[in-house]
Amino acid sequence: MISLSRTWAVMAKEFIQLTRDRLTYAMILLLPIVQLLLFGYAINDDPRSLPTAVLVQDNGAFSRSILTALDNSGYFEITLQARSQAELDRALARGEVQFAVMIPADFTNRVVRGDRAQILVEADASDPSATSGAVAAIASLPQQALVRELTGPLANRAPGTQPFEVVVQRRYNPEAITAYNIVPGLLGVILSMTLVMMTSLGMARERERGTMESLLATPVRPLEVMVGKLTPYVLVGLTQATVILVMARLLFHVPMSGGWIALGLGLMLFIIGSLALGFLISTVARTQLQAMQMSFFYMLPSILLSGFMFPFRGMPEWAQIIGTAIPVTHFLRVVRGSLLKGVGIENAGPSLFALALFVLVVGTLAMLRYRTTLD
């Protein structure tokens, strides 16, 4: 027989225990609310206002109209007026812009003459989904950009033909293969998932099992505990990275265009940063469950706001600011930059610096949080 009283006994006890661990259950409630608000508004897989560099070598009136038309499409935001081809290329390689538009010197003349006028658009297609909308918008440029200019005598140019041609070059991932973008990105996500979670459990486990008291009774110093606890996981991280990179090459044929120094440096900084963050979490969490929840709380923005799953530039500015504070964001830039673009250490500089800063700040916080007493 099922006894109502016995069932009630268990149920009442569970409810009481539920209210004891307030932090855990506050997070259970808070997690969906925060994440929903955050990602509901932040994610946009048809990004607009993409930063664009232009190199205008033609002084004619048509060039200005084309720039205006680009701007009006909503997909492009001209952030750089390059003065040379080299400057244009560098901006694209560094990832400062998503598009580079080049209008050649004789453009206006050729349009007037009806002589195969061209403009060249280079897209950073390492993340195909970030550029596909904009590339589609370019296709309609020739019909619309010069509608007002081509009046009077010019209106009688060969009917049915377009006044000029747009040549689009997809750089870094010309065939728009999603795996080329996702697989290097997975490196960052998988590493942070394992490393942050594993280390975040570290101190909480000592506390739960009671070994913390013995450990603190010894003269061991905070830095000794941190370095000692994290070093084994550096090896775990490096092993994981090797496995992922080898598989990316063998199974997905992800191009590896060089940039090994930048990649190696980024990898080390990212592994250490993730471990330091895990350690920081573990000095805050009272139990292993809390540590798990906090790591999870960190993982979602790492996946959704870092540019891994959705184009970084598609997010509103406030979400980009949050994304900038997440190390995965910078690591992804380093990994994609080196594997797909082969960029050297000088172009990966800003991202590497951001990663180093993260290591420093989080490491210091963790040291400040760590207590050598039970107070």
Binding site: R209, G210, T211, M212, E213, S214, L215, L216, A217, T218, P219, V220, T372, T373, L374, D375
Partner: protein, 312 residues
């Protein structure tokens, strides 16, 4: 009180609060080198908190004094290097082997000749054969002996033990105490908290604390003598059932059954004898005995409660 010059623990006015709970109040204690001092008191008396303050695990809110010559308020790290501390709950790594736990302790204390020391500890414990066994699989008594070996591997000058033999069988307890006496003979000072009266009697001296206050201090004999308690015990059919009745009589400050024997204590000999006079007849056999430590401690708590009632 002895005027021993070589005090390993010499603290005064220690205070520690956790939120609203004032766990230790103006606590002071002096322990001379090489002594085994028993630390007694009811649960919640502040024993664990005091031990943790003495080994640098907790910072006192206020107070002064030294442990091993180091400032108890400021030199927690120096103290930790020279103190061995054994926690109340088993706190070694259960997923490491016996030997690995010892090696960990040796490394954390930066000891030289690590292999030798670990080997020696294993031999002393008699665990050489079982060195590769997980610490978590040891029985209660062995766990405590291993914890003691780990806590003393760095040959500390002061050993703090927090109820080291709780839940351990009598034989294992005896072995444990033999080891403590052996270490004390080599000059180690020991402060050990316990609830067992037979263990209290194995100590050179004891301190009885309640609510962070020391109520009795000295050797077991000194504490009994200082209590001024007179104890009779009665043996015979139904003796143990008289406790409740006798407790109400003037002059009887405490009456407690120990099995079939009844202990009746008081400080006023005439009043006590008058109170038990009506019962001093066959089949009960009465005899005056020396009060036990337990009699004295129960008495001390009663006094404290009476004092609190008067103050209220």
């Amino acid at each position: 009180m002895s005027d021993a010059p070589d005090l390993v623990i010499d603290v005064r006015g220690l205070n520690k609060s956790f939120g609203a709970l004032h766990a230790v109040k103006d606590f002071g204690i002096q322990v001379a080198r090489g002594r085994i001092c028993g630390f007694l008191g009811p649960n919640g008396a502040g024993k664990t908190t005091t031990l943790r303050m003495l080994c640098g695990l907790l910072t006192p809110d206020s107070g002064e004094g030294s442990v091993l010559g180091f400032d108890v308020m400021k030199q927690a790290r120096e103290i930790k290097q020279r103190v061995g501390y054994m926690t109340q709950k088993f706190s070694l790594y259960e997923d490491l082997t016996i030997e690995q736990n010892l090696t960990f302790a040796a490394r954390v204390h930066d000891l030289d000749r690590r292999k030798e020391r670990v080997q020696a500890a294993l031999e002393r414990l008699g665990l050489v054969e079982r060195r590769a066994q997980l610490a978590g699989n040891l029985s209660g008594g062995w766990k405590q002996r291993l914890a003691l070996a780990v806590a003393t591997l760095h040959e500390p000058d002061l050993l703090l033990l927090d109820e080291p033999t709780a839940g351990v069988d009598p034989e294992a307890r005896r072995t444990f105490w033999d080891e403590i006496h052996a270490m004390s003979a080599e000059g180690m000072t020991v402060l050990v908290s316990t609830h067992y009266m037979d263990e209290a009697e194995r100590c050179h001296e004891i301190a009885y604390i309640v609510g962070g206050r020391t109520l009795a201090r000295g050797t077991a004999d000194e504490v009994v003598d200082a209590s001024g308690l007179i104890t009779f015990h009665a043996e015979g059919p139904g003796a143990d059932r008289l406790a409740a009745e006798l407790r109400t009589k003037p002059g009887v400050e405490m009456a407690a059954p120990f099995g079939t024997v009844l202990h009746v204590s008081g400080r006023d000999r005439t009043a006590l004898e008058a109170a038990i006079a009506p019962y001093r007849k066959p089949p009960l056999e009465w005899e005056e005995t020396r009060p036990t430590l337990e009699d004295v401690f129960i008495q001390l708590i009663h006094d404290l409660e009476a004092e609190k009632r008067r103050a209220a």
